[in-house]
Amino acid sequence: MVGFVYVTLGLMYRQIFQASDLTRDAEYQTQRIVIRPPARGLIFDRNKQPLVENRVRWRVKADLMVLQPEIRKEYLKLLSQAKQENFFDKPDYDKLLENARVNILNRWLSKIWFVVDDNYQLNKTRTNKVYPLRDNPERRVNIDSLRKHLRESRAMKFTLISDLAFPGSTISKTPEEGDRAIARFIEQFPSGGPITLESDMVRSYPNGSLAAHVLGYVRDTDELPPNSEEFTDPILKRLQKLRYTGKKGAAGIEETMDYALRGTSGWELWNKTSTGYNKELVQSTSPVQGSEVVLTLNLNIQKAAEETLSNIRDSVGRPLPGAAVMLDVNTGEILAMASQPNFNPNRLADRVTNKYYDEIESAGGWLNRATQGLYAPGSTFKIITAIAGMRNHKVDWDDVLDCGAFYRVGNRNFPEHEPVGFGPVDVEKMLAISCNVWNYRVGLSVGPELLALEARRFGLDRPLLKNLNPSDTSKTYNYELPSTAKGMVIPDPDYKARIGGGAWNQGDTANTSIGQGFLLTTPLHMACFAASLARGETITTPTLIPTGGAKVAHIGSQPIGLNRLQLEAIRSGMYRCVEEGTAKSVRIPGLPYVAKTGTAEYFKTGVKAHLAWIIGYAPADRPVVAFAVLVEGQLDTSTWGGKTAGPVAQEMLKAWADIR
């Protein structure tokens, strides 16, 4: 009796007082939150031409569960074959099973390719036989990914073809062919079998590898874009949350502007009834697409730069590494920034296949040579030597120095690049013909400290692409592009002592005065220097984000400190360089521009090779754009500033003139 009362009271208590708690507990079990991914923001060039988009990806998958009987049958067949061949040895059962799986999947793949391949379509007269699987090994089952799939996600469908309409792959060369492949599969491949087609959205770079170093690529991440609201409600906080695999920028603008591009995740609160059927949506917020990013790049100039750059090849036909930059003289907006070798971010959008990653790695394709490559500026540095000479009154614009075939510094002869020497040379002529001896003499008379001071005044060793306007101060995105170079070197006696190179000598000064020796800077720095020179100032702040036409403060910039005649001498020297000097081969009729070429020696794996430089601005009288081009010569190539790097500048200028 007592027990009965106790039980009754207990039940009453539970019913009345705990009821609300219990129902809430029940809700936890039957509700869950599903986090929904936002679409990533798009990236455009300055004229709103798409540089980065999102596109539909179609993947063909096989349901291994449904295929099980077929695989079993094949396995038994293989087993009996193995027994027949060698009755006494114990066959490797795992190997046989794997072979059976591979055989069956290949059989289905052959059917898929039969439907999709262009060779078998209506009224195609087949002249020569194509073996869709045999000729294209990558169309077969990838055994490694099958093994990985069985290890990690056995219950899921196995991806047979990860991107049916991927432009540029062996499947389809053009978007149109990609569409055909999808349409053929949907309309012709028998439905209802173990093979299904699924679609999702992936990052797409419509111009392929164009501006790859600026744009970057995306990769998988578990770090999701933030939700529109944090789950502060304790009930929501406790619920199970289903996440997705997100994407984050892994290089370039994709990385540095990830905070803007990634958008905001949405979430949904779903109810399941006790039977597990009929889910219903209780509450939801939709994901918000990431913001659009407009860059200062100009698609046409970028294309011209990359095409010409990729056409510079070594003796065996491989493209030479190089970089090209063009920027707006007044605003510092970068119109083109190319680096060779590059990579195709489309192929990295899914998951980086080790093979492709290694390919890029071994070719040195990850390096953005425009912002990260450190090079001796070579003869392009002679402009600075001249400015230093004139500002320190060691030489004036109309002083003529006698320049022989070499100049003796200490006990060593520093040669001219012309065997007989140039005779009388002034600033203007020096820049046109790139006389070395003039620079040895001026450089030595200025001295290493003042020479270095002059180079620093032009910012050749200060990090560039600082983010002027970071909208997210909490992040460490101080730069518009990730890991821009910080190891620039403007040598002076202190520097040499610091690196343990011993005492500074006259030879070091002579080397520095012609842009060799310890000097290291990037193509972007040299382009900025050209832009500063065009404006008659010292500093140009380059940027990839449009300044909106507002008056730009080039922070720290000051007047160049030369009188009109001195500046005129430098400019006309660089003008003569194009008209009659070292860049004569790349002059553009109708578009007068100024330039200075350079050919620096450097040591590539211990052997001497040449760097080809050209920097300048255009038009000569009223400068609008400045440029710098660098090409790394190989050991066996004859690389000369005007001849090798010049055409890239020429094509960029032509492209710019076309759209002017």
């Binding site: 991914p37 039969f114 209506l122 036989k129 194509v130 055909r180 053929r184 949907i186 309309e187």
Partner: protein
Amino acid sequence: MDKNRQGAKASYVALAVFIAAWVVLPSAFRRFNREAFAEFQAPALQLLSKGRDLSRYWELRSRTDEELISASRDLSRINAALELKLQGTDDMRRENSRLREMLRYPTSSEYLTVVARVVSRDTSSWWQSIIIRKGRNDGIRPGAPVVFGNHVIGRISVVHQNVSEVDLITSPTFRCTAFLDGDEPPRIVHVGGMAGNSLSAPRAKISVIPPGYSPPAGEVTKVITTGLGGVFPAGLIIGTIEGEVSKTPEANFKEAFMVPSKELDRIDEVSVLIPKYPSPGEILMSPGEFLKLEEFK
């Protein structure tokens, strides 16, 4: 009575054995069995359809002279209008072929057209098909598109001697690709029947609509064949979008419902477009043909 139950037991065992046999039997046998029973019904279905034609004929016979005269007047008016249109069409055809020649564009006559009457319609929540009065004897092949004018009706699913089954576009087994009106440049979307979702008029579902797409305002949005898949010629109307184009739960894509452009349960006559050359999909449907291809061995 007991004897009867005893016998039944034996029959159950026999049935169980037969079911087991049925499962392991070669599929060719089952196919033959199905074909045989279909052919058994075919004459009756044909007879029925012919009877319907006949009754229609007698119904027309019973019309009064007045009715016939007015009908004939209407017809001659329509005829005159069509004549005029035909004139224009001839010019356009000439222009078209001239342009095609200039562009070396392949001619579109890759199909033979066979007109067929509808024998019966068979719709349920799990299949949507019609049976037409043309079959293997008339050159009908499985997979061939079935149209009415420039409207898509469905595809041939099974071909018998004198009748064929047509899988309608609202049938769950139907799928094709399409372009949507107002999508510039056009992007491929997926159309699949989805009869099984309600008892109201069956629909198809358009999926994988790119998220940036929105239908032209104030207009009926047509769904048009792409002509890329090698089955349907380009530019045929599959249907129109019904209701709004909404985002999928994943918010990756949009999707929409589509109503067929023709009332599929009323249609009396259709054309079958038989491709001159079999498509790979058609070859796949007859396994023997595929295995004959040396490249795929």
